[in-house]
């Protein structure tokens, strides 16, 4: 049970990094509170796995400090950080039984055999591994094996933080669903700090109380799933979270109004946004999620290009002067044909300057 703080972390895989581009982690300051469920979400190459390595001690950062409960452990070896980790591919000891696999970390730590038994059976029960616990671990299916990897972390009582490195990559679709729910449930029971690395927004948003969205070596926004969905601080967050992602269009500022190809658009952050843009040369954009674009009698004239019936809802592709706009409409809603008008919901429309939410300032 530990609070983990990352202070001014920078990391480069190069010997003598010169420019910002040489850094895999550009600058990260963040705190993982004790007992929280966190997700690091981002595309491949955003630095999320590097950051995980820095927390686990497998990678030593170029600069910055890591604190566990206020104590600087930047130079402390992995084994003394008392972490647990589940990898992309299940790591099991093939020649041992399921029981011995789960007992392994305890036996290495010289825990008395009687305690081991109670603890292992406990964890096996939590993970539904009781059946066939004395079988060879190699005979299990891939999700069973991944549960064992998870279990080896759960049996230990000294764990400061449990880390997951895209743990569901090799798991079957149906089992993914089950393991995801299981993981969430486990966190609610054991209350260990957990950090989950993934490129899959579903996994991240389902699992975590707080999601850190990473992009090009920075955390562009960290917040609850609701915050990330409803008020993306960076256009990348808007694009990356939500399926499909946010509609983003270029816009112009003229006086007090925001214009999208000549039409005035009202934004939620219009007043402070425009004020912050005084005399600046920033590139301005507006963003609106497809969920909040509606057909209406007046507004932005569009041409309907295509309607995808996705079962639970319809995804409508429309076009306004070569700007593609996506709308999500309810399953049974009538969709106009040919041309129509759409309206953006004001409280869900945001003004971005140089990709950051205008008027909110960017993270350093």
């Amino acid at each position: 049970m530990t609070k983990i703080a990352l202070q001014n972390i920078r990391h480069s895989y190069l010997g003598s990094p010169q420019t910002d581009g040489d850094f895999a982690i550009k600058h990260i300051n963040t705190v993982f509170e004790d007992g929280g469920a966190y997700a690091l979400l981002g595309p491949s190459g955003c630095g999320k796995t590097t950051l995980l390595g820095i927390v686990s001690g497998l990678i030593s950062p170029t600069s910055g400090r890591i604190l566990f409960d206020g104590e600087d452990i930047t130079r402390v070896d992995t084994i003394h950080r008392h972490i647990a980790q589940v990898f992309q591919f299940p790591v099991i000891y093939d020649t041992m039984t399921v029981f011995d696999n789960l007992a392994f970390p305890l036996r290495n730590r010289k825990v008395p055999e009687s305690d081991i038994k109670a603890r292992v059976l406990d964890v096996a029960k939590m993970l539904d591994l009781e059946e066939g616990i004395h079988r060879r671990a190699a005979s299990l299916t891939v999700d069973g094996k991944q549960k064992i990897s998870l279990g080896r972390g759960l049996v230990r009582e000294d764990v400061n933080v449990m880390m997951f490195d895209e743990p569901l990559t090799v798991i079957d679709q149906n089992m993914k669903w089950e393991l995801r729910s299981k993981l969430k449930e486990l966190h609610q029971n054991v209350r260990t700090t957990m950090i989950y690395v993934t490129h899959d927004q579903t996994e991240a948003l389902t699992f975590a109380d707080e999601v850190l969205v990473m992009y090009e070596g920075r955390v562009v926004q960290s917040g609850t799933p609701v915050e990330l969905f409803e008020k993306p601080r960076h256009t990348f967050v808007g694009y990356f979270i939500g399926s499909p992602g946010m509609n983003i269009f270029p816009c112009q500022i003229s006086g007090e109004t925001v214009e999208f190809s000549g039409l005035p658009i009202e934004c939620d952050n219009q007043i402070q946004g425009i004020r912050s843009l005084q005399d600046s040369q920033a590139i301005t954009e507006i963003g609106i999620r497809p969920e909040y674009v509606r057909f209406s009698n007046q507004g932005i004239p569009v041409r309907i290009c295509r309607v995808d019936d996705l079962g639970r809802h319809q995804l409508v592709h429309v076009e306004h002067e070569h700007h593609a706009i996506k709308l999500i409409c309810p399953e049974d809603a009538p969709i106009p044909e040919g041309s129509a008008c759409v309206r953006f919901e004001k409280s869900r429309t945001f003004l971005y300057a140089d990709k950051w939410l205008a008027g909110e300032g960017s993270q350093s």
Binding site: P43, S44, D172, Q173, N174, W177, R180, S181, K184, E185, Q188, H199, D200, Q201, T202, L205, T206, T224, P225, V226, F229, E230, Y239, F240, I241, G242, S243, P244, G245, R289, E291, D308, D309, L310, G311, R312, H313, I328, P330, E331, D332, A333
Partner: protein
């Protein structure tokens, strides 16, 4: 897209027919006798869980495996014994399979070289396909220096450039990043249909199947349980198996009792018996209701609803929807709603069940319409 479709020379696309095809290996039935007719130039999806026989079915169509009995027909011609090489097909796998020592250009050009085309023509055709799949800037690069998504696009480009009469895709997007998958799902059907090929696409994800559209064959334990237009089957599954395969998150199934014009989930709620159901004898039936027809918010439009209350077991938020696992009268239910709705465990909540979304089944799983 239009430019591309016009520029290619048309060729004969194939319809694919399986007549009583089955596959038994060492006494194990991998595929039960299947009768299936896939129309030419149609985008066909095979949907089923892992090990439901999708890959075997693709391999049977490709000629990589011989059926234990039955016939495979291409456009009415029996090709059961014809070798893969002579069938003019292209196949893309889940793993990114490319020639590791070739450049991107040479990889894409390889089927054209095998076909003995002239260098000028190869250059032009590879250029067009690369443009389409946004690979133009990589043409001179080494395969090894590319990311997974780019590698899979090359494998797809190779399948496209071959202009095969039949293109078989075995979960081609499964190993790609989420966002890339989203984007390619949107583009793939149009790319392949524009190329004039008949396509068979195997997937285990219902959402992917919906996004791809076209026609769909539902596979369950080596049996094709239903075939038809994707959206039709989604809305009107012929049996419980189809409904189960075609629902993610899993469909809620519960026992209902019909008695004199009223349908009841015992101890939970009841409602007026729908028209189609009226002539059926009283007794027990099964109800299937997809999670998104159990919503946390009442819909804007007037819909026929009943409310059900339960306790939250787990609340998950995924993408732009919220999933709530609930316990209702001793059964586990899943509800799905658009937007983000956080709920804490143990909380009592009320969900709205859309009666128009209810699927009714006989005790043996046959749908009632």
């Amino acid at each position: 897209m239009c430019i591309y479709a016009a520029s290619i020379t048309r060729f004969l696309a194939l319809s694919v027919e399986l007549r009583n095809v089955d596959k038994v290996v060492d006494g194990m039935v991998h595929i039960h006798p299947v009768n299936l007719l896939l129309q030419d130039r149609e985008f066909n999806v095979l949907l089923g869980a892992t090990l439901s026989g999708k890959t075997t079915l693709l391999r049977l169509m490709a000629g990589l495996e011989k059926p234990s009995s039955g016939e495979v027909l291409f456009s009415g011609k029996n090709v059961t014994g014809v070798s893969v090489q002579k069938r003019n097909i292209a196949m893309v796998y889940q793993e990114f399979i490319n020639y590791p020592n070739f450049s991107v250009f040479d990889n894409i050009a390889s089927p054209l070289r095998v076909a003995g085309k002239k260098p000028d023509q190869i250059k032009q055709e590879v250029g067009e396909i690369a443009e389409l799949l946004r690979l133009s800037e990589f043409l001179d690069r080494d395969i090894a220096s590319l990311s997974g998504g780019q590698q899979q696009r090359i494998a797809l480009a190779r399948a496209l450039v071959k202009r095969a009469s039949l293109v078989l895709l075995d979960e081609p997007l499964a190993n790609l990043d989420y966002k890339l998958r989203e984007q390619l799902r949107e583009e793939l059907p149009r790319l392949f249909v524009a190329s004039g090929s008949t396509v068979v696409y195997a997937t285990s994800e219902p959402e992917e199947a919906l996004m791809l559209g076209g026609h769909i064959a539902m596979l369950h334990e080596g049996k094709v349980v239903q075939y038809g237009k994707t959206t039709d089957i989604y809305r009107r599954p012929g049996n419980l198996e189809s409904a189960r395969i075609f629902s993610h998150p899993p469909i809620n199934v519960t026992t209902i009792v019909k008695s004199s014009g009223v349908i009841a989930i015992p101890g939970v709620t009841e409602w007026q018996c729908p028209e189609v159901f009226r002539d059926r004898p009283d007794g027990e039936y099964l109800l299937g209701i997809r999670p998104h027809h159990l919503s946390l918010t009442s819909p804007e439009r007037d819909a026929r609803l009943v409310t059900i209350s339960g306790t939250v077991q787990l609340a998950e938020i995924s993408g732009s929807v919220s999933l709530v696992h609930m316990r209702i009268n001793g059964n586990d239910w899943i509800s799905e709603s658009g937007g983000i709705h956080p709920h804490s465990i143990g909380e009592s909540i009320k969900v709205y069940m859309h009666l128009d979304g209810c699927l009714y089944f006989d005790r043996d799983g046959t749908a009632i319409y």
